[in-house]
Amino acid sequence: MATTAAVVDHATHAHADDRSFIRKYIFSTDHKIIGIQFGLMSLVFLALGGTLAMMIRWQLGFPGKPMPLGSLLPETMAAGGIMLPEFYVALVTMHGTIMVFFAIMPLLMGLFGNFLIPLKIGAPDMAFPRINMASFWIAVSAGVLMMAGFFVEGGHAGAGWTGYAPLSARPDLSGVSLGQELWCLSLIILGLASILGATNYITTVINMRAPGMTWFRLPLSIWALFIASILVLLAIPILSGAAIMLLFDQTIGTNFFNPATGGQPLLWQHLFWYFGHPEVYILILPAMGFVSDVLACGSRKPVFGYHSMIYAIISIGFLGWIVWGHHMFQSGMNPTLGMTFTISTLLIAVPSAIKVFNWMGTMWRGSIHFTTPVLHAVGFVAMFTIGGLSGVFMSSTPVDIYIHDTYFIVAHLHYVLFGGSLFGLFAAITFWYPKMFGRMMNEFWGKVHFWLTMVFYNAVFWPMHDIGVHGHMRRIYDPSQYDFLKPLAPVNTFISISAFLLFATQGIFALNFIISWFKGEKAGRNPWKDTGLEWSTPSPAPHGNFEKTPTVYNAPYEFSVPGMAEDYLPQDQKADQSRAPAGAGH
């Protein structure tokens, strides 16, 4: 095992790069490579999760009709190409699980947490490069375990991504045994990877900021990643604990969630959502940070209300801990608690609104260059607003009685996770792609991808509000069973066709991503004329990042400073150095 030996006595070199291929690209300790590894893994999972969604949409749009290529599936999943109910619940479960844990979260935290933090704070690498590498490979093994569930007897976990006990704890009732155990095990292992990652990020931000990089000179992307890392650090162990209890209930006969022996099914829900709501903010805060960076650069203006943006991030991070009960209004939880959770949930609308208004304020009186990342960032604000506003409906407990567990919730969560997180990620990927690979992504195809995604995305998720308001339940294999859902069938078909088009559109992005890697136009150090430290180093940045440790003189978004020749002032450049001769006597 030459590789392990090589890793053990690895020391960080800032410049010399004589590492073997395996140490450079496979078992690398370079945060940028690890970030890209996380990114590629998550993009594969993103495509996979999307494929599962397409199968779900086929069944809902065309219930009982054989799926295209469905005959390729084994008889345990689809009989003669027609999906079986047990496969449908596994699809619903795994679409959620994969998208949340193996696509969006590792894209935000794994890819950009790794890639951006050291570059943007002026550090040569993470605080613990080898733990960082371990974190990635642990995540990969969790992913392999999760995928293995599809191939075991009894099929994959079928209790929803929320894994509500006792259904998830009782193989005799769900028909799933090994699949559900693998689900638990995989999440426990992934949790370890996340905790190691979060420890690393937090330590790095606290300890390794370049000289002059004070807390209030940190870009909002770093603030968001920092707060999200704290949420990961403190929320994920709750999930690990709960998943361990569930695994024990399934395997060694413990009674945590078994009502027959006094166990408490609601205990699972409390634990899951006590983790789960901070998790929601783990999935959106970093995207908010990226969008702030991209919008400021695109508008050539400082972020409007930089400090209140930070306080908003912090208060969202804090309030996220006291709202978990709003997932449980109809669960049989003490109704008086419902009241408390309503108020705390509604309060979280305040920092969210502050952020939206500040983004608009950033565009106001700017000079907006609509490059692909900026389009996605504006799209993020537009779509996140819808997701935020639809959340108000369910925070009102009486309205939630009706819309809870309907497609209204599905619409809401996709407006936040797709319209929010994923548009934020598209903005971030297209924005930092040149720093990752040294080449630009194609602008034309980027814009085509944006507009088609925007149109089809809304065609998919906007009507879901409507069918939700008509009472359409979630996770239903065949809506045609119910008379009151029959009139909604054409809407379901429309949604499904739009979903197929939305999925196909992502092929443009995938091709643009891959082809640009080899054929894209070469990017200079700073193609967007941005102010961040990462742009002062070559693209792609070398191992060790900076030729010499940068010193920071400025706030993060000094665009269009009056009296300067250039409309941007990099963080590591003294203001007087770059002042134009004309402005010297100013």
């Binding site: 040569p124 905790i195 606290i206 300890n207 390794m208 650090l233 024990f248 409390h270």
Partner: protein, 226 residues
């Protein structure tokens, strides 16, 4: 130097807090551990409040004296850990090795006693799922007679067995991990890797060790004594 690259910052950077990365990182990691044990202890509290009748009187099913001695041992291992750290601060290599070996041995003893306790309890009839059918405890509970100079045993102990094994088991797992890491640090100490100037590995593993020790004091109190 291997140690420096493992725990220390890469060259050139000065930690902003003045505290080296390994120590900051361990404190942060322990925050995560606190939440993990919070989940376990929180669940314990909720289950016990819901079904207090499933809990045996302290000392009835669990052997308090044996575990008290075990607890004392673990506290002693925190003392030996402090001694090891103090030794290397004075540059006393021999003292460092001796106290580290003592810590490893005491930690291993603690785990061994816990394994013995599990085997004994399982034999007696307490499993994670509750009573073992046909065991002494199950028979005593079914007959409803007083057990071991105490009141009668609870009719069902499903939650009692569940929480006992899960909580002590996960603590035992943490001690085991600690012993393994400590053995690694000890091995490095025997190779002379720690100096007066740089003994970060000893300090970092010490932080973890004291944390695990502290958790046990809480667990011993609520699982055995209450």
């Amino acid at each position: 130097m291997a140690n420096a690259t493992m725990m220390g910052p890469p060259a050139e950077t000065q930690p902003a807090t003045g505290v080296y990365n390994g120590k900051v990182g361990m404190w942060i990691f322990l925050g995560s551990e606190v939440m993990f044990f919070t989940a376990l202890i929180g669940s314990y509290i909720i289950l016990r409040f819901a079904h207090p009748e499933q809990w045996a009187t302290p000392g009835q099913a669990l052997n308090i004296p044996v575990t008290a001695v075990n607890t004392f041992l673990l506290i002693c291992s925190s003392v030996t850990m402090v001694k090891a750290f103090a030794a290397i601060q004075d540059g006393d290599q021999k003292g460092l090795r001796m106290w580290l070996v003592a810590t490893v041995l005491i930690g291993a003893t603690f785990v061994s006693v816990q394994v013995y306790e599990y085997v004994h309890l399982a034999h007696l009839g307490l499993l994670p799922s509750g009573y073992r059918e046909g065991s002494d405890l199950a028979n005593a509970a079914a007959s409803g007679v007083a057990w071991k100079a105490g009141p009668a045993l609870p009719a069902a102990v499903g939650l009692y067995g569940t929480t006992f094994y899960t909580m002590t088991g996960f603590h035992g797992f943490h001690v085991t991990m600690g012993v393994l890491c400590m053995a690694f640090v000890t091995w490095k100490a025997f190779n002379g890797k720690y100096t007066v100037a740089d003994h970060r590995g000893v300090e970092v593993i010490g932080l973890y060790w004291h944390f695990v020790d502290l958790v046990w004091i809480i667990l011993f109190t609520i699982v055995y004594l209450m």
